[in-house]
Point group: C3
Chain length 314, copies 3
């Protein structure tokens, strides 16, 4: 990557890699996380009814990644509590966000310019968390790419991945949705980061660590800012996702490519099974599957049409 040398970014990337997250970036992370919790429906009521449940929920928002990756590696999930300074900092922020007289802290932090800066700083911590997870898994399981990706992802997007159980603390239970069924943008970008850092760690990706840190950090900060400023929630990967989805998980092309002859014969063979499958799928439409928006809905709809066509030809 001589490009970095040419552009004079080498020094910048080294500087970034040596940046300390404590205390300013951590504080931004705690503030944005706890504000996100406060904006959940029902969270304010819970904060009045049970400050303890609210505090515990906030800690899961702030340290969810460490808790989840701890459980996955059979390390004590209480470990984050041992870092008294961080817990104290997060608790103070929790207190002022929820209980500050006249809501001064929340009101000001929620103003767009300040929130933009805080969110940008929070995104920077993501790089560190993902990298921390990947490195931790690499130390324990030398050559397992999958474990490195899983732990990096869990560390970086833990709060989202355990959201079902975090909600349970607040007395809310939404089994019909989770981050695996319908990934949010932060979960997605963290997964991509985990894959990139895991590939870098195993030298499949020929790039230096601090260069990758710079590229990834700039990308997530810029992208987050763009999304906040434009109020858009469309993922920058929508097109790639659609292509991958169409190629791998949709068999429409396969259907089209084959002559109706072959198709019919095959359907005759598996008639009973296909019918069962179709029945199941229609049954399912009433099941509490998460509502899917945007591109995926389109895909699903096109697929339903396909199924219907299939039934008709059948």
């Amino acid at each position: 990557m001589d490009l970095f040398g040419v552009l004079g970014l080498d020094k910048l990337s080294h500087g970034l890699a040596n940046l300390s997250m404590f205390p300013y970036f951590d504080m931004a992370h705690y503030t944005v996380s706890i504000m996100a919790l406060r904006e959940q429906p029902g969270a304010l009521a819970v904060s009045r009814v049970s400050p303890l449940a609210c505090w515990f929920s906030s800690m899961l928002y702030c340290f969810g990644g460490a808790v989840l990756s701890g459980i996955m590696l059979a390390e004590p999930p209480v470990a984050p509590l041992t870092n008294s300074t961080s817990v104290l900092l997060a608790s103070i922020i929790w207190y002022v966000v929820f209980y500050c007289p006249m809501d001064l802290v929340y009101s000001y932090a929620a103003l767009l310019p300040l929130r933009l800066v805080l969110s940008g700083m929070k995104e920077v911590t993501r790089t560190w968390k993902v990298l921390g997870g990947v490195t931790q898994a690499h130390n324990k399981y030398k050559d397992s790419l999958l474990v490195m990706i899983a732990i990096g992802w869990a560390r970086g997007a833990g709060g989202g991945l355990i959201s079902n159980f975090e909600q349970l603390v607040r007395g809310v239970w939404k089994p019909e949705t989770n981050e695996l069924l319908k990934m949010s943008y932060p979960t997605k970008i963290t997964l991509i980061g985990a894959v990139l850092f895991a590939l870098q760690q195993t030298h499949y990706l020929p790039v230096q660590k601090h260069h990758l840190m710079l590229i990834y950090t700039v990308f997530i900060v810029v992208n987050k800012s763009r999304m906040m400023l434009m109020g858009s929630s469309t993922s920058p990967f929508a097109t790639i996702e659609l292509v991958i989805y169409k190629t791998l998980f949709s068999d429409s092309s396969a259907y089209a490519a084959l002559t109706s002859e072959v198709r019919k014969g095959c359907l005759d063979n598996g008639r009973t099974n296909t019918t069962t499958a179709v029945t199941k799928e229609s049954e399912v439409s009433h099941a509490p599957v998460s509502p899917v928006k945007g591109s995926l809905t389109a895909k699903e709809e096109s697929e339903n049409t396909e199924t219907t066509n299939c039934k008709k030809t059948d």
Copy 2:
């Protein structure tokens, strides 16, 4: 067990004990497990909406036992991911079962003769998994029969035991039922296997390990095939279960044996409590307790009748 020598089965049992599960038996296990997932209501829809949730669910079906026994022994639940070959194999099978053009793979694998062979092979892996769990627990806790049974059971029937949480991945939540409330046949047979292997390991059962492996394997394979061919879902242990239940957990005999004199006196003593208990039981009838079929319903009904009688005499 000289019987084995006489029948010339000693060599056969040694041969079986040295059989390698990888790759063919493992493949059969993955195929049958993922096909079972595909046949769950809603699973096909999830596979279209979120391939990742579907993949994660499939992995829990394939490696649920290892994950559960890992958690129970405080070993990393991500450990199964370190075996890249197995995960790759399971992922390929997941892909072709769910997304193969025109559903070729599923259609053919679901044909009875092929499914029979695959299911038989899957049952063989059960022996290895139960034994693996029992041995693992034996290495860690020398003399604890209960832990050995628990780990052997978890390893062999993990997918079933964690089904509530596997379903949650797919956005389905059925708290009113679980494998402890209403055990399925595979869970039952695995529990029996875990007890037998644990007793063998602690030398309470005077039989050699490879002999027990042969007996247990033949029993589960034959029984599974019988059940598939006859389309019967009645457990071969129904009679034994009923006897144990009647002896231990039903107090009808005790009621009958006692004269009404003693009974009345006792009821007078405990009147308040009995009434409370009855009220609770009737309250409960509206609670989401799993619907119980067959012999247990009969038992329950007979018991309700008993309670009613008891109320009348009271």
Copy 3:
């Protein structure tokens, strides 16, 4: 603490500290715990339908603290099973409480005088469990007060804290309530005990361990007896809680102290946010938040009134 020497309580506290919990106090703990399970709505029906689920639930009631603290410290949650004697004892008690002919055991144990003695003895085991948890955490994390409190609390009140998952075993799911949202008296008193013992362990509380054990044990036993005899469920901490709540988590004083001038200005600044918050809070009132009784309801109501006033002035 020379007071102890003067009152001649030093010898008593030493005697108490050397008291063995096994077998009598443990038995009382198992009996009271399993009777509490039996009195849960639906538990009796489950005991008839699935003795195994009932047994598993009972073990969670008896050993829930050890299981939870085990998970939190990444130690095997099956560890309680290794103590065969305790498990056997608890299982026998489970059997006689649920399945004794004519309910003799439950009927007699539920009589007030006997229950009072058993409950008192059970409370004594609480001291040992909390202290055990705090010591265990102290051995692993020398200086972390928070971890010591968390583990002591989990060990002492584990059954309550994992109640959601214990209920799930019995097919019951009540996400709208948990011990964090609405703490019961035992959970509260255990938390206080964990704080006290953790402070003692780290020498912030200048008192000897056996003295603290005596004070704490006497307090919880006397208080439990008082509550059982008077049939009162009001916590002895209600007043302190209310003061803490009013001081820390309610901003009414802040509102009152400020002139309407300042207040108005501030509200104008944060108008959008406040409105959003209010909307959310009203949305929330329909959410399945646990019904809150007594002082908290009063607080909540007064707060709602406050919000309304605030809206009016706005």
